[in-house]
């Protein structure tokens, strides 16, 4: 074996893989007909619960929030509503989860993050092992870049009033959505043993788009042109 092959093997021994799941128990449970409570099943159940909640809300006249139109890209949905759902206030630096180095965040998320060119090592906030957020300052003001892997399930739902501008855009050849105007709400489904729902009020404009298996989101006081320019640098 050559020196290069030995070096490659040595690197291989030091690679940082995600924690190995206990497959044996899950496989046997499936073969016995007992489907284990995998996280994607939890996600499906969370959506079923959400549907039930929406139907229940619509059934109560005082709580009715009529849905006017849905806009959807993979991993995210924006709905236009008459009345925004109840939401908590959140400033940009809080409620994003603990911060890690990029490498540690990627290890926890099990994916490679897409980021714009940065001067230094970014601090990546990770919420519930699913949603990564980096605070960028492209024009001196903070802008949140959030991303998550949502090839099969929606994790984000935004509700916007009738005054908001919602339009489809293209970002680096992929589908995107631009949301501009008055405050809107963001609901996400977090994974921490079980899915839970949380709704926060957002005051900035938002660009949502997909890139490979990732769904990305820019949020801040940005114009559409600024957001699109920034998004093109995120790779």
């Amino acid at each position: 074996m050559t020196s290069l092959e030995q070096q490659l093997q040595a690197v291989g021994r030091e690679l940082d893989y995600p924690a190995e799941p206990d497959l044996a128990r899950a496989v046997v449970a499936r073969l016995e007909g007992r489907r284990p409570f995998a996280w994607r099943r939890a996600a499906a159940l969370a959506f079923a619960a959400l549907l039930v909640a929406v139907v229940a809300a619509l059934a109560v006249p005082q709580a009715r929030t009529s849905l006017l139109r849905f806009f959807h890209i993979r991993g995210a949905t924006i709905e236009r509503v008459d009345t925004l759902p109840p939401a908590e206030e959140r400033d940009q630096a809080r409620g994003l989860g603990p911060a890690f180095t990029r490498a540690e965040a990627e290890r926890r998320l099990g994916l490679r993050l897409a980021l714009p060119p940065l001067d230094g090592e970014p601090r990546v906030h990770v919420l519930e092992g699913v949603l990564a957020t980096v605070i960028l300052r492209p024009h001196g003001r903070p802008v949140l870049l959030s991303e998550y892997e949502a090839a099969r399930y929606d994790l984000l739902k935004k509700s916007a009033s009738g005054k908001a501008v919602i339009e489809f855009v293209r970002v680096n050849g992929s589908d995107g959505l631009w949301l501009e105007g008055p405050p809107h709400t963001l609901t996400y489904f977090a994974r921490s043993g079980e899915f839970r729902q949380r709704t926060v009020r957002i005051h900035g404009n938002v660009l949502l788009w997909t890139r490979g298996g990732l769904t990305l989101r820019l949020e801040g006081r940005l114009t559409k042109a600024q957001a699109l320019r920034l998004a093109k640098r995120i790779r």
Binding site: V11, P21, L23, L31, G110, G212
Partner: protein, 185 residues
């Protein structure tokens, strides 16, 4: 009298007859390498877990077609890797390997000086970057053969190619790696 642990061919025969405990023992033996292989191929921990789990379930159901006396590991890896590749394709996932060198010292390792650790870490990252810059088929051959330490036969099974193709692909990949590393110096 102490029961001796069952050998793999015996476990396979029992599993063929519907013994799920025997299959559980086999899964436990191979779940680590199956998960890591699926992770390198799919680029996602969640997909790797699903691919490996689905692979072991499908393999159990296909045991009737498994030839007695044949090596089990490449057969299992072929099924799991196929599941992982399908998920990668359907997700349109990025090409680079989703792995990084671990920063921490492993238990039992001698503790290097800070300078030595920095240099070693830098070398690792440089090599990993060079591997990531290779075309996908070369990169995956390197990853399976050296990073996962699979045999040529197992690498062929994981990548769904012939053993001769593994040899030639590795030779070309190593040559390109040498070129790119020398060009940097």
């Amino acid at each position: 009298m102490v029961d001796r642990p069952l050998q793999e061919p015996e476990l396979v025969e029992r599993a063929k007859r519907g013994d799920l405990r025997a299959w559980e023992t086999i899964v436990r033996e191979y779940q680590g390498i199956a998960f890591r292989t699926a992770y390198l191929l799919s680029g996602s921990a969640a997909d790797a877990e699903e691919a490996a789990q689905d692979g072991f379930v499908k393999a159990y159901r296909a045991l009737g077609r498994f030839r007695r006396g044949a090596p089990l590991k490449p057969w299992l890896l072929r099924i799991v890797a196929n599941e992982a590749r399908n998920r990668r394709r359907s997700a349109g996932r990025r090409e680079a390997l989703a792995v990084r060198a671990a920063a921490q010292v492993r238990p039992g390792d001698a503790v290097p000086s800070p300078e030595a650790a920095l240099l070693a870490g830098d070398e690792r990252e440089r090599l990993l970057e060079a591997v990531n810059a290779l075309p996908e088929d070369h990169r995956l051959a390197i990853a399976c053969r050296y990073f996962l330490d699979l045999s040529e036969e197992d690498t062929a099974a994981a990548l769904g190619i012939r053993r001769g193709t593994v040899k030639s692909r590795l030779a070309r990949a190593l040559a390109r790696l040498r070129e790119s590393l020398e060009a940097e110096e």
